[in-house]
C-alpha cells in the first residue's frame, strides 16, 4: 500500500504481485485531514483506503481503524506501507547574500529544492538601513536564515556585517518563539568568525554555494535544508509520527519522492525526462537533463491553497487566454479566492474544469523558468530542452475526463520541441513509486513497466519560421500491422493521428523550410513512436506558442485545439 498525503487530497494505491510481477491493483482518494478540525493526517489516509477495500474486496483496515500490516492470508492486510506527504508547513526561509545574480541566485536555487517559502531577501545593496533590516528580520521570525556570499577566500567585511545583522535580529526575537537555524553557505574562511558572532544560535556550516563566480555547489546546502524540513516541519504535521511508524520509519516529502520517480524514468529510458506535479499548495518539477537530476518545488504556488499567489505573479489575462469561453476578470478573481478557501472542491461544470486547467497551465509556466534556468535560457525558443518523456501529475490533471485536455494543457504550458512522449499519472502513483524504489526497487520498476502511467501519446513538435498554413513537414507513419498513413503538416496546425495505446509505429519525418524536428534544421529522420490515449499529436503551432490577440478569435482557436485533441465532447 502506498499513500501520498497532500495538502488537500490524500491518494492511496495498492500494488500486488500478479503472476510474479508487481502491478498496480486499485487506488482511492479522500480529503486530507492534516489541518483543523481533524488534525490527524492518518484519518484521510484511512478514508482513502476504504475506496481500495471497496474496489478489491480486500480487508485492509482493522476494526480499530488501523492498517493491517503485515498481511494475514490472501485477502487481509498489506505487507508493506510506504508514505509520502506534502501536507506539512513549508520552511519559512530568509535569504541573505551579497549579490543578487550570484550568491542570492544560488541561495534561491537551494531554497527551491524542498518545501520552503522565501519570506524575504537581504543584501548590502537592498537599499535598507541596518535598523530597517533588523526590524524586518525580527518581524519575519523565519525558521531558517540561509546566508551565502563571498567566494572561497574572497569577500569578508560585507559577509560579516550581514551575519552580525542576522545575529542581532535573532537576539531581539520574541523569546517565546522557536529559535531559527542559520545555514551558512558562504566564504568558508569566515566560518570561525561566523560561529563566534552567532554564539549559541543553531549554526550549520555547509559548503560554499558559490565558491567561485563561475562555480555553483548546491548539494551540501540543499541536503541541510532538506534535513531541517524533514526533522522540523514534517515531524510537526499532526499524525506524521503514526504515518512514519506505519511506514517503517520512512515518511518522505512528496516532492523528493516525485523527483526520484522522474530519475527512475530517466534511468529506464536512458534519456531526458521531465515531470510536473501540480498540487494544491505546491508545484513540483523534476527532470533528468543530460544525465543530471533537477528538482524544483514552488511552495508558494498551487491549484488550491496557494492559487491566489499566482495572480500576484501573472496577470489574469494570462490565465484567461487559455479559456475556450468568455469570463469576466472579477469572476476569475472570485473563483481563485474561493478555490483557496475550499481547495478540496472539484469542478462540476465544464467551464470550471477548463478554468482550473487554464490556471494549471500558468502554474506550470511560472515554475518552468526557475526550475531549470540554465537549460531554459539555453534554448533558442525559450522553451523546454528536448526530452523523451514528460510526466504530468496532480489530482486535477490526473482526473480529467478526456486525456486530450491534459495533453493540451501540457503542450500549452511546457511547449516541448522535437519528439517526445506524454504520460499522465492518473492514479497519483509517481511520488509513491519514487518512495517504493527505496524499499522494493523491483516493485517500482515493474509497476512503471506495467503501465502505471497513462500514456497520452507521442508528440511531434517541429520548430522553425513559416507563415500559418504553409507546409512545413511531410510525415509518414507506418504501423506495426503494416498500415501506412501519410500527411502534410501546415504551420499553425494541431493534428492528432490515430495510434492506439501500446501500439508502436515508425515515423518518417521530412521537414520543409528548414524546420527542425530534433535532428537539426531541415534534416529528415526516422523514429519509433508509441501511441496513447490521445494518439500521435503533431503540434505545429510554433514555439513559442503565439495566440491570436483578438479575444473572440483566441477563444475560437482554443476551442478548435481542444476539439482537435479530443478535449471536447462529441
Amino acid at each position: 500500500m502506498v499513500a501520498d498525503c497532500g495538502s488537500a487530497t490524500t491518494r492511496v494505491a495498492l500494488l500486488d504481485l500478479v503472476e510474479g510481477r508487481y502491478r498496480f491493483i486499485a487506488n482511492g482518494q479522500a480529503p486530507s485531514t492534516g489541518a483543523h478540525p481533524l488534525s490527524d493526517i492518518t484519518v484521510g489516509m484511512i478514508n482513502a483506503v476504504a475506496d481500495v477495500e471497496a474496489a478489491t474486496g480486500r480487508e485492509i483496515v482493522g476494526e480499530q481503524g488501523q492498517l493491517l500490516i503485515p498481511s494475514q492470508g490472501g485477502t487481509r492486510g498489506v505487507d508493506r506501507f510506504v508514505a509520502t506527504t506534502s501536507a506539512a508547513q513549508p520552511l519559512r526561509t530568509v535569504l541573505v547574500g551579497l549579490a543578487d545574480q550570484l550568491s542570492l541566485a544560488s541561495a534561491r536555487r537551494v531554497a527551491l529544492s524542498t518545501y520552503t517559502t522565501i519570506e524575504e531577501e537581504f543584501s548590502p545593496a537592498d537599499g535598507r538601513s541596518d535598523s530597517e533590516r533588523v526590524q524586518e528580520l525580527v518581524a519575519l521570525e523565519p525558521d531558517v536564515f540561509l546566508i551565502a556570499g563571498g567566494t572561497s577566500g574572497g569577500a569578508a567585511t560585507n559577509v560579516i556585517h550581514l551575519v552580525e545583522t542576522v545575529s542581532l535580529a535573532i537576539s531581539l526575537q520574541d523569546k517565546g518563539s522557536d529559535p531559527p537555524t542559520v545555514i551558512y553557505a558562504g566564504n568558508p574562511v569566515l566560518r570561525p568568525m561566523v560561529a563566534e558572532i552567532l554564539g549559541g544560535v543553531g549554526l550549520r556550516a555547509v559548503e560554499n554555494v558559490r565558491p567561485d563566480v563561475d562555480a555553483e555547489y548546491l548539494d551540501s546546502a540543499q541536503a541541510e535544508l532538506d534535513l531541517l524540513y524533514e526533522k522540523g516541519k514534517l515531524g510537526a504535521l499532526p499524525g506524521a509520527e503514526q504515518l512514519r511508524n506505519l511506514a517503517n520509519g520512512a515518511l518522505i516529502p512528496t516532492a523528493k519522492a516525485f523527483g526520484w520517480s522522474v530519475q527512475y524514468l530517466g534511468a529506464i529510458l536512458g534519456n531526458n525526462v521531465v515531470g510536473v506535479d501540480v498540487g494544491s499548495a505546491s508545484v513540483t518539477m523534476g527532470a533528468v537533463l543530460n544525465g543530471i537530476s533537477h528538482l524544483a518545488v514552488r511552495s508558494d504556488l498551487g491549484i488550491g491553497h496557494n492559487l491566489p499567489k499566482l495572480l500576484e505573479q501573472v496577470d489574469s489575462q494570462q490565465v484567461m487566454r487559455w479559456l475556450p469561453h468568455e469570463m469576466a476578470d472579477s469572476d476569475l478573481k472570485d473563483f481563485v479566492a474561493n478555490k483557496a478557501l475550499f481547495p478540496q472542491t472539484v469542478p462540476v461544470t465544464s467551464e470550471e474544469l477548463h478554468l482550473e486547467l487554464a490556471l494549471a497551465r500558468e502554474l506550470i509556466r511560472s515554475t518552468l523558468p526557475v526550475a531549470f534556468p540554465s537549460h531554459f535560457d539555453a534554448t533558442p525558443t525559450g522553451t523546454l530542452p528536448p526530452v523523451e518523456m514528460i510526466l504530468l501529475g496532480g489530482t486535477l490533471l490526473g482526473s480529467v475526463p478526456r486525456p486530450g485536455q491534459a495533453a493540451l494543457a501540457l503542450l500549452d504550458a511546457l511547449q516541448p520541441v522535437g519528439l517526445c512522449m506524454l504520460a499522465l499519472d492518473t492514479h497519483g502513483l509517481a511520488p509513491a513509486l519514487g518512495a517504493v524504489a527505496g524499499v522494493v526497487p523491483l516493485a517500482a520498476v515493474q509497476v512503471i513497466e506495467s503501465g502505471a502511467f497513462r500514456e497520452l501519446g507521442g508528440v511531434v513538435a517541429p520548430v522553425g519560421q513559416a507563415k500559418p498554413g504553409e507546409q512545413i513537414l511531410r510525415l509518414k507513419m507506418i504501423r506495426e500491422n503494416g498500415s501506412e498513413l501519410e500527411t502534410e503538416v501546415e504551420a499553425g496546425s494541431l493534428k492528432v493521428l490515430p495510434l492506439q495505446p501500446g501500439h508502436r509505429a515508425e515515423l518518417q519525418l521530412r521537414p520543409l523550410k528548414r524546420f527542425d524536428v530534433g535532428e537539426g534544421p531541415g534534416r529528415s529522420c526516422r523514429r519509433s513512436v508509441f501511441g496513447g490515449a490521445v494518439g500521435l499529436i503533431v503540434d505545429a503551432r510554433g514555439r513559442p506558442l503565439r495566440l491570436p490577440t483578438d479575444p473572440a478569435e483566441r477563444r475560437a482557436k482554443t476551442r478548435q485545439w481542444l476539439w482537435d485533441v479530443g478535449g471536447l465532447p462529441v
Binding site: H36, P37, L38, V134, Q135, S330, K333, N338, T345, E352
Partner: protein, 329 residues
Amino acid sequence: MLVRTGQQVKPRDIVARASLPQPYLIVNVAKELNVSRDRSRGCMLRNPGDRVRPGDVLAWHKGGFRQVREVTSPVDGKVIAADGGRVIIELEPEPFELRAVLSGTVAEVAPGYGVTIETPGALIQGVWGSGKEGYGVLATGVKERDVVLDARQVQAAHRGTILVCGAVLDEEVLARAQELQVRGLIVGGIPAELQERVCEQLVPVVATEGVGRAPISSAIFDLLQQNQGRQATILAVLPDRWKPSRPEIIIPLPASQPADSAPSPRRALSANLAVRVRRSPYWGAVGRVKEISNEPRAVESGVKFRGAEVILEDGTVAFVPNVNLELVT
C-alpha cells in the same frame, strides 16, 4: 491579566493590558565618532536598560585639539544593547488593552496570552473575515438573504450595530458603515477585488459563504433574523490555513438548557443530513442528503466523483461530489 477564572465580563471590559513591541533603532556610534569598534566601547555612556529621550548623549569621544564629538539619541526609548560599536534603542512600547468583546464567564486565564470566555448562545462560522473584531446589537438591513443592501439604507440608527447586508458587500455600503461607525458587517460574499480594501478598514466584515456574490445561506440568515436586537460579537478572523480559527459571529443567549455538544468533525456524510454546497453550479445552496452514491458518477464536466443526491431548498435534486459538500449543524 486583569480578570480571574469565574468572573463575569461584558464586551467593553478590559481583560488584559500589555505593551506592544515597537521598532528598534540602531545608532552606529563607532562610525559617527570615527573610532574603531573596540575603542567605541570606552565611549559609551549608556547601558542596556537605560531610558533615553531625544537629545540624550549616548556616547562621546574626545579627539585631537580638545575636540569633543557626541552621539545623541534621536528618539524616546530603552537601550537594548550598547556594544560592537552600536547602540540599539527600542522605541517606547505602545500600551495595549485587550477587551473581552464578548459577554460571558471567564473560563480560563492563560498568563501572558489571553483568556477564554464562555457563553451559552448561537455560533455562526463564516468563511472569510477581514481581520478585525467587534460587538454590537444585531440588525438586519435586508429582508431577503439574496438581495444586496443599498448604501442609502445604511442610516444613523445603524451606528453601533452589527449589520446584515445580504448577498454581497457593496463598496459604498462599506464606506457608509465606516462613516457611521457600524460595529460589524455580515454578508454572503465579498468580491475579491474588495478584500484588500476591506482589510484596511476598521469595521469588521464576515462573509458567510465565500468570495463573490452569494446569498447568505438560509440557516444562517434565519438565525440572524431571529436574533435581531440582541447583543452579538463578530470575530472576523482572516483565513489562515495553518491556524484552526475561523471567522465567527457569536450571539449570547439565555441558557435555558445545556448546550449541545459540538458535532464531531469525523461524522460521515449520510442520508438526511443538512448540507451546504461549496461549488458551482449550486454554490451556497442548502439542502438535505437524499442518498449517498457508492459508485463514482460523471458530472457535467465529465469528471467522475463519489457524491450524494441532495434535495435542495427549491426542491431540485442534484448530484453533488462529496468534497463539494459541507455539513450544516
